[in-house]
Symmetry: C2
Subunit: 330 residues, 2 copies
């Protein structure tokens, strides 16, 4: 039977067919070889402007964070800061909360200057509200949020370190700006910083809030924020202030512990003087600090108690920037 | 009937008896008055040398700590340090581990210079062993231990703060002296401090141990230490070194996290130059650091793996000593 089979090609097809078959096989092999040679080239980075689809698997939702930056009347600063923040390690996505009502976002210009390291989403708002940034954005995929004011520059080193600290304290607001409330004999609270008296728990000062304008916190708190008493939203809208104080109340109530963990920044800068818009930020208003003391007392009423707790823990990075920054005279 | 009763004294006893009774009553009243006047005086602090019994309820076992200080050939430093440490806030008791074999403890002198703020127990040892201080002393009543070398002075401010930090991180060794191990391509580990290369996890340095010669840790770890492989005790006895490295291995294995939390001391001093004994401490031996690298590798064998983990968290006290020590240029 074997010999019978072998004889078939020679006898049935003939030599012309044999040649034809050989040529076809050779051509196919050449084409296959050519394709194999071409494949690496298609993936070559030198090919211009192939729009890269964002790869959702590149930064796992657990190991990365979303930057939420609200902006009003400082688009020049926003763009400057976006160039900086878009390249921070472990960044997953940027959400820009666009409070310039009726004004076009810079999305076109942004895209024309692509590609960018991460996706940036411009969320157009209908009303200019301070609490717009505290929405539970559907684009938010990560457990961690980094919230930054649109005039604040924090170095990548500080952010990378603070993110690692947040991962160890995920239920806290981990950030760079500590503040406190103090009690007074009348029972009325006052808001301030280190220039205010120490609360008097042993040596040194204490803080009871970490401001969310330069901090990491768990995205779950944005969900929680949607479920607060109406009076909280009314207060924030009335003052166009205090959303950060409200968040600290929320977190403190939730954990029963100090709401924040303060990480001492090495390089934090306020860029508001650099803006061309002339707009210099809400905290310059005459009533700003008085409003914040007012908010503390209102929130105590709304929440029927003072949930904020004091802490005196100040965290810095071991051996950075100075590799011997913990050296002592021992 | 009432009148019948009234007539009885006059008729039955007579006037002499009535006078006698009155005198007795008056004398009794005077004596009672005198006793009442005397009672406060008996409690007066001016009364000399009434030995006070230690009150076990004065420092709750949860809110206080026990100082364990091992001493060898530096009794002058010991006594200097005891005067300092006996007054630290939240101290419950001092346990002195007396490694001066055959020598009398200074207990008599100590008692003659009383009263003291807390009880001090001198535990006479039979053999001069480094690991004597890691016994599970029956006198230990508190959850927290403060272990100090007998040549190290840490300020009360630093200790009060570090104790408050330990209360927030009770499963860690919270202390003032960070060290690290590094891997090498050969797989052999080396031990050192900041002068060694960074382990290379991002920016800056990392530590993987906090030495127990100036640290707070949970007394439960002394219990755990009694249940370690024999080879660990043999290693410590062979080197008269490395008990602290062994404790860090134990804690890291137990928690699965970095064993220590480093608190940057404001005022830590080594007093060994001040001793009259001429004895200058084990760490001056030529082989001291080589031994410690040797111990790291031996312990990895004994525990079948490297449990130590890196951390770069450095904790300082907010607003102390400088009330504005967190101020930034923002």
């Amino acid at each position: 039977r074997y010999f019978h089979f072998c004889k078939l090609p020679g006898r049935v097809m003939g030599i012309r067919l044999l040649r034809f078959t050989s040529v076809v096989i050779i051509v196919l092999l050449l084409v296959a070889g050519a394709l194999t040679a071409l494949l690496p080239n298609i993936k070559d980075d030198k090919l211009p402007n192939l729009r890269r689809e964002p790869k959702p698997q590149s930064q796992s939702a657990l190991d990365s964070f979303t930057l939420i930056m609200q902006t009003y009347n400082r688009t020049d600063l926003l763009l400057k800061l976006l160039n900086h923040y878009q390249a921070i390690p472990n960044l997953h996505k940027v959400i820009v909360v666009w409070n310039n009502i009726g004004e076009k976002t810079p999305e076109e210009m942004w895209n024309s200057l692509g590609p960018h390291p991460v996706p940036v989403v411009f969320k157009v708002q209908s009303v200019n509200r301070m609490r717009n940034r505290l929405q539970n954005f559907p684009e938010l995929e990560t457990k961690a949020v980094l919230m930054m004011d649109d005039d604040t520059l924090v170095s990548a080193h500080d952010l990378a370190f603070a993110f690692s600290v947040w991962q160890q304290f995920p239920e806290h607001i981990v950030g760079f700006v500590p503040r406190k409330h103090i009690s007074t004999p009348s029972g009325v609270y006052s808001y301030g910083s280190f220039e205010l008296q120490n609360p008097g728990f042993g040596n040194g000062d204490q803080y009871s809030m970490v401001l969310i304008g330069a901090a990491f916190f768990h995205s779950g708190y944005l969900e929680d924020f949607q479920r607060q008493p109406e009076a909280v939203y009314a207060l924030i809208d009335e003052t166009q202030n205090c959303d950060d104080i409200a968040m600290n109340f929320l977190v403190a109530k939730h954990t029963g512990k100090p709401s924040g963990v303060f990480v001492k920044p090495v390089d934090i800068r306020n860029l508001e003087k650099d803006t061309n818009s002339g707009y210099s930020g809400m905290w310059h208003r005459a009533e700003h600090l008085l409003q914040r003391s007012y908010c503390v007392n209102k929130l105590v009423n709304i929440y029927d108690g003072m949930p904020l707790k004091y802490s005196n823990i100040m965290i810095s990075q071991f051996g950075f920037p100075n590799y011997a920054n913990h050296k002592n005279k021992m």
